[in-house]
């Protein structure tokens, strides 16, 4: 057995290493055989020539015999592939221009797909890095029209006790932590969680322990002063000292005991609605108070064994009904609707549609490049029709020819694919750079085995798509090609096929073009959206304050005033005030408030709300339509006042809002506020949302950490250290952070649209360029093949202008048909974009017209050169050539 294997192996090797020698020996052997046969016939009385003819006729040619004999060699299939590859490489080297264009377009197409696949897989499909992560769910509610209102501790507590579908229900909320170690204060993202959360995510402490009943303030022996650190914080600030467990550290102005450190590989992926960030470094314990009705808590749980998401949804509906009947005073008017989603889906909910659109766009680009290469190959291989016909005549089978042509296109695709991996890598870096906001789970985006498999898959697919049409078209191996000394005008079937491909290319490239056009319009509309403030020339900075240290509102007002006074005196500062939260900040969603006319009993509408210090409107340039701004007097006397924007004024008091009374926030029982000012419409939550109105309340009505707004010529970086020093000297004992231009917040709010627009435009431009190359290539080829026909026409009296019109007309007709088909497709596709657009309809006539015009111009440009050279054909030359 072993010997047999060894022999096979050695003959396998011989096939490759000594292939030429084997071929020569086979030649000799066959010649000897034929000589022998001929000699036999001559001996029987035939003439030598006659005998030779007879033998050859009888045996059916020498090449097929050789082909069949070679085929029995071990490993011959592989040897053939190698031979085809060598041949393919040679034919590529003969037309390096074509090879370069083909490989480049394929590399771009494949690279774009690899990059998008990598992102989509990491963000949308890859399982969470938690044990049994597919069973993790998040609960949320919509409360009186407010999305992502979260759950109340009472609801969570009821569900924990009675749910049969969910276990490990835990509370999680993103917060901030001012960590003071050795006198140095640092602000880091933090989360406040109930004891079940970390174990439910599969976390195990690297040092110390996780939270348990001892950390629960509601437990008889519980105390809330424990804290857990991330590995990074423990390393950076505590020198990775295992002895730090048990140490008391001041966090948020309270001494807390460090009880545990999480492992370095523990990653935090929670939906934005919980406001927990990926880089969470401090964990606080929290308890679930069954008597508390405040909403806004993120709730994470696990599906019990054998339970589906649908089971959980049905059970939640039952609970909703029970809540409503138990506590009708809270849940009247169907105030709350609950939902439960798989954690993995919830993480990507905001970005899902955009990623799918980009994924579709890159697929289009690759398709266009494949069709393009098929077309160029077709054009080129018709020049090779003769070569292929000769090979057929010499005994190559049809399968053999198809195989060879496919090998050539696969070779192209493989080179393109290798380039594609490189471009995909670069593309990922480009994505990183283009996006100022983070994708969910962006840290998990990366190339790996699965991505490589995907790349190989699409490379093969691309190779086959590029090669299959030309291969079958030419395997037919027209013997006519041999008979006619030179191909005349190409066969009608061939021309039809090539024209069809050009039409397909143009149609395919129009779909991403329309999508890109719509995104560009949306972006332009966004940049021109009236914000209600002038962001340029303003630097913002968070100035947190310890509310324990400054427990009294007046003290807080005083410290702010002191800081503002110092800043006002700085050189280069024109004006300064403060408000919070800053426009387009992430937690703006949480700041929606109900409002209504004092005395009205309806549920009211909702508006975004900012807390402002006197002078804020002046600093950011918000125009007052009527009334006045807040004054120091308002703050000193804690006047119950409010400033609303025009939209609220028009809604509630069309005949004049100044002096009217309204309620904001905590229900109708709250004391009414007097309207003292009306501003232009202000947009702070979502730059694409012009329907949510805005109102300002004075600082004493809503005391939160303030953001300084400084009108200045000094850049933010230069201002940062000064601001930090001033705050420290004023004794805020918290670090000033996020010293940014106000423009950055605005830009960030447009980042997604900008990102989508840039990427789509790049892809659309690429596919349009490819389509133009295809049109140009096809027309040039068809024209050069028809030069004899044109020569005849010219000789018979056609003017060169007529020829010009003939060729250019063909290009225009092809473009028109392709554009019509493409527009029909684009109209269908544009509807899917609706959610991503701003200020433009999916069927925007201007965009459709612009795209059509761009394609038309490109088509004319692409047809011009071939048409011109056709009209320049010299009849004598064209007719004399063979």
């Amino acid at each position: 057995m072993a010997r047999r294997l060894l022999r096979r192996l050695s003959s396998f090797l011989r096939t490759f290493v000594r292939g030429l020698q084997l071929d020569r020996e086979l030649d000799d052997e066959l010649r000897a055989y034929l000589d022998h046969e001929i000699a036999r016939r001559v001996a029987a009385g035939s003439s030598a020539a006659e005998a030779r003819r007879l033998v050859l006729a009888e045996e059916g040619g020498i090449e097929p015999i050789k082909e069949r004999t070679r085929a029995v060699r071990f490993g011959f299939g592989l040897a053939t592939v190698l031979q085809d590859l060598r041949y393919g490489a040679r034919s590529m080297a003969r037309s390096p221009g074509f090879a370069l264009v083909a490989c480049l377009t394929l590399a771009l197409g494949i690279g774009a797909n690899v990059a998008m696949f990598t992102v989509m897989r990491s963000v949308l499909w890859r399982p969470l890095p938690y044990a049994d992560g597919e069973r993790l769910v998040i609960l949320d509610s919509t409360w009186r029209g407010l999305p992502h209102a979260g759950l109340s501790p009472r609801e969570i507590s009821d569900l924990r006790r009675d749910s049969r579908t969910l276990s490990h229900l835990a509370v999680v909320n993103g917060v901030g932590a001012h960590v003071e170690i050795d006198g140095e204060v640092e602000f880091v993202p933090a989360a406040s969680v109930s004891a079940d959360l970390l174990p439910s995510l599969g976390a195990r402490p690297a040092h110390g322990r996780l939270f348990d009943a001892r950390d629960d303030s509601l437990h008889p022996d519980g105390q809330v002063r424990s804290v857990i650190f991330s590995d990074a914080l423990w390393r950076q600030r505590l020198g990775a000292d295992p002895g730090a467990i048990g140490r008391w550290i001041t966090v948020n102005n309270t001494p807390r005991q460090l009880i545990g450190v999480l492992p370095a590989d523990f990653q935090v992926f929670l939906p934005a609605s919980t406001s927990v960030q990926e880089a969470t470094h401090v964990w606080f314990p929290t308890s679930i108070n069954p008597a508390e009705n405040f909403r806004g808590n993120g709730a994470i749980g696990r599906l019990r064994a054998g339970v589906t998401l649908d089971d959980a949804r049905r059970e939640l509906e039952v609970f909703a009904a029970r809540f409503a009947s138990d506590r009708p005073e809270i849940y009247r008017d169907a105030a709350a609707t609950f939902r439960v989603d798989a954690l993995r889906q919830a993480l990507a909910a905001d970005i899902d549609a955009g990623l799918w659109m980009l994924g579709a766009a890159v697929a289009f680009v690759l398709l266009v490049s494949c069709v393009n290469i098929a077309n160029l190959t077709l054009a080129r291989s018709s020049g090779r029709a003769r070569e292929l016909a000769v090979r057929r005549a010499l005994g190559a089978t049809r399968v053999r020819i198809v195989r060879q042509l496919l090998t050539e296109s696969l070779l192209l695709a493989a080179i393109g694919g290798a380039g594609g991996l490189v471009i995909g890598r670069l593309g990922l870096q480009l994505l990183d750079w283009l996006r100022t906001t983070d994708l969910p789970r962006q840290s998990q985006v990366g190339l790996d085995g699965q991505v490589t498999l995907f790349s190989i898959g699409i490379t093969l697919a691309a190779g086959v798509i590029c090669g299959v049409l030309p291969a079958f078209r030419f395997a037919a191996g027209d013997a006519q090609a041999l008979k006619a000394g030179r191909a005349d005008s190409p066969a009608r079937g061939q021309r039809r096929l090539q024209r069809g491909l050009v039409i397909a290319e143009i149609a395919l490239s129009i779909v991403p073009l329309v999508a890109a056009g719509l995104m560009v319009r949306s972006f332009v509309n966004l940049t021109q959206a009236p914000l209600g403030f002038r962001p340029d020339g303003i630097v913002t900075a968070w100035m947190p304050l310890s509310f324990r240290q400054f427990s009294d509102v007046d003290a807080r007002v005083r410290v702010h005033a002191a800081v503002l006074d110092r800043i006002r005196e700085l050189p280069g500062v024109h004006d300064v005030s403060a408000a919070s939260p800053p426009p387009f900040h992430d937690f703006q969603v949480q700041m929606l408030e109900r409002y209504g006319r004092a005395g009205d009993t309806g549920p009211g509408s909702h508006a975004t709300r900012q807390s402002a210090l006197p002078g804020y409107l002046r600093v950011v340039g918000t125009r007052l339509v009527a009334g006045r701004e807040f004054t120091d007097d308002d703050l000193r006397h804690k006047r119950q006042v409010v400033i609303i924007d025009e939209r609220i004024a028009r809604e509630l008091w069309p005949s004049g809002a100044i002096g009217q009374q309204m309620w904001v926030g905590a229900g109708r029982r709250a004391s009414p506020l007097e309207v003292i000012g009306v501003t232009e419409p202000v947009r702070v939550a979502n730059i694409g949302d012009d329907s949510t109105p805005h109102l300002f309340v004075p600082y004493h009505k809503f005391t939160i950490d303030m953001v300084l707004a400084i009108r200045t010529d000094t850049p933010a970086e230069a201002l940062a250290p000064v601001l930090k020093r001033i705050a420290a000297e004023a004794g805020t004992s918290r670090a000033v952070m996020d010293v940014w231009p106000l423009r950055d917040y605005v830009d960030k709010s447009m980042a997604d649209t900008r990102f989508m627009m840039l990427v789509l435009t790049a892809f659309a431009g690429l596919s349009m360029l490819l389509a133009a190359i295809g049109l140009y290539g096809t027309l040039s080829y068809l024209t050069s093949q028809r030069s004899r026909e044109f020569g005849v026409r010219l000789a018979l009296g056609a003017s060169s202008r007529q020829i010009l019109r003939l060729v250019a007309g063909e290009g225009v007709v092809l473009t028109a048909i392709g554009a019509a088909a493409g527009l029909a497709g684009a109209i269908a596709a544009a509807r899917a974009l609706r959610g991503l657009l701003y200020g433009v309809e999916p069927l925007d006539p201007a965009t459709l017209a612009a795209v059509t015009a761009a394609v038309a111009v490109l088509a004319v440009l692409a047809s011009l050169k071939p048409a011109w050279s056709a009209s320049r054909v010299d009849p004598t030359r064209a007719l004399r050539a063979d």
Binding site: D28, A32, H36, E37
Partner: protein, 109 residues
């Protein structure tokens, strides 16, 4: 030259070649000639079948080719039966015998 020839059963060609070489080493044309003679022209082996078969048998190690000079002074590749080829021949002969006997029984019953 009798034109009537019979389609070879699959695998029969190997047996014919091995058997022909059992008696003496021969080159390609001689093998075809010998088979035609002994079967009185029933089997006319064409080069298109003969050479692939020879090369396959050589790869299996049942026959061995060597270049030598023929009686009429031409350089030819002559094939010899190897030890394992002899074993293979016995095995195929036995198989063929069983098939022939079985066929005969079916046809005569």
């Amino acid at each position: 030259m009798p034109e009537r020839s019979t389609e070879l059963l699959k695998g029969t060609l190997d047996l014919l070649i091995l058997r022909t070489l059992e008696l003496a080493p021969r080159h390609g044309a001689a093998i075809a000639e010998r088979i035609a003679q002994t079967t009185r022209g029933t089997f006319q082996i064409k080069a298109g079948s003969l050479f692939p078969a020879l090369h396959r048998l050589e790869q299996e190690g049942w026959i061995e080719g060597a270049w030598e000079v023929s009686a009429d002074g031409r350089r030819v590749k002559s094939y010899t039966l190897t030890r394992s080829g002899r074993k293979q021949l016995q095995a195929e002969k036995a198989t063929w015998g069983r098939i022939a006997a079985a066929m005969a029984q079916v046809l005569e019953s």
